[in-house]
């Protein structure tokens, strides 16, 4: 069996050491760093891409939050504006109502004043008529010629007595 021929051992061991030594040296100094470099570059690239994707996602989330905040803000503002408008219109309505009431009051007063004036006038005319009537009546019935002043005085006292 050639494997048991001890005379070949030194040569085999020597060339094994040389060959494996050279291979290990080549791999350690050139081969392995090159492969490691490629794998690392790829890993870095993937990690960088993932990082960028993460950053973009964060940014998008921030933008979404901003937008939501903006929407909420706009809604709040719209609500406030609505409330203000409601208050304003309510105040306006109240004011108008008050004005209307005032003008009605005014008209009522005017009307009352007019009625008062008409009544006063009517009463004064009535007095004149009464004076005239009492003069005429006393002239016809009693044959007395009463002066206008006396008749007016009598009518006034009679009226005061009646009152």
């Amino acid at each position: 069996m050639p494997q048991l021929d001890g005379s070949t051992f030194p040569s085999q061991v020597l060339w094994l050491v040389v060959a494996f030594g050279v291979l290990t040296w080549l791999m350690a100094t050139r081969g392995v760093p090159r492969v490691a470099d490629i794998l690392e570059t790829r890993q870095d690239r993937i990690a960088a891409d993932l990082d960028r994707a993460q950053a973009l996602r964060t940014e998008a989330e921030k933008a979404m939050q901003e937008q939501q905040a903006m929407i909420a803000d706009a809604q709040a503002r719209a609500r406030t504006a609505l409330l203000v408008a409601q208050e304003k219109s309510a105040a306006e309505a109240a004011r108008r109502e008050r004005e209307l009431e005032e003008s009605l009051q005014h008209q009522l007063k005017e009307a009352e004043a007019r009625i008062q004036a008409a009544r006063t006038q009517a009463l004064s005319e009535l007095e004149a008529v009464a004076t005239e009537v009492s003069r005429a009546a006393s002239g016809h019935l009693l044959g007395l010629d009463i002066s206008a002043e006396e008749a007016a005085q009598a009518v006034a006292s009679a009226r005061q007595g009646a009152q």
Partner: protein, 240 residues
């Protein structure tokens, strides 16, 4: 008729003799050199383009790298990655030695016990030295199985020491025998195929099947040798 063992004969190509020792450059040395050249060429050609998306050759190189890297990580832990270049070289060297040995007319240097034993002995010595350098005399606790009662230590410790010292033998003999047996068997069947003439197709079919098996064994033995190296390295780095 040639003996099936003739394929293992060491033939000097460049005779060299120093101090009475025969250090000739032989067919074994030639195929070691071819293996080294093939590995170096593969790795260098594969990484030439350094593409982000690897091509076919680059994939082969990257796969080998990742294969050995995961083997070390899984079996020796992260600390073992320090020894990556030498373990990667070991795996590729044995793999190429086994695979190139499949070429008819070539020489399989891993079919010689002195080669596999020398490699296993180097692994054994290196791993033991690493163990003592890292843990000092505490490394000897490797021989005291944890959880075992102290009473049976006198029985267990010699067994542990024996099993530790047998490692280089089992490691080398496993690889050597697999290569030897496979190649011898193929040669025997090939002899039959020639001798049987027209009926030689039957052994020929067996040879075809054996070739497939041999490729598997060539890979598997390289893997086993390397993975056991990683396991031994793990013992040295982490004790248990």
């Amino acid at each position: 008729m040639a003996s099936p063992l003739d394929q293992f004969i060491i033939k000097p190509i460049i005779p060299i003799e120093i101090a009475g020792a025969d250090l000739s450059f032989t067919n074994s040395a030639l195929w070691m050199a071819i293996s080294v050249a093939a590995i170096y060429t593969l790795v260098m050609l594969g990484t030439r383009q350094a593409a982000l998306v690897p091509g076919r050759l680059q994939s082969v190189v990257e796969l080998s790298y990742e294969f050995v890297a995961s083997m070390i990580r899984d079996n020796a832990g992260r600390e073992g990655m320090k020894y990556f270049p030498i373990i990667f070289s070991l795996f590729m060297f044995i793999l190429f030695g086994n695979m190139l040995g499949m070429i008819p007319g070539s020489f399989t240097f891993t079919s010689h016990i002195i080669v596999t034993f020398f490699m296993a002995a180097c692994v054994f010595v290196t791993v033991t030295v690493i163990g003592f350098m890292k843990h000092g005399l505490h490394f000897l606790t490797l021989f005291t199985p944890p959880g075992a009662p102290k009473a049976i230590w006198p029985l267990l410790v010699p067994v542990e020491i024996l099993s530790y010292c047998v490692r280089p033998i089992s490691l080398s003999v496993r690889l050597f025998c697999n290569m030897l047996a496979g190649l011898t068997m193929m040669k025997v069947f090939a002899t039959f195929a020639v001798a049987l003439g027209i009926f030689g197709f039957a052994p020929l079919l067996i040879i075809i099947a054996l070739t497939g098996l041999k490729i598997l064994v060539a890979f598997l033995q390289a893997y086993i040798f390397t993975v056991l190296t990683c396991v031994y390295l793990h013992d040295s780095l982490h004790l248990h």
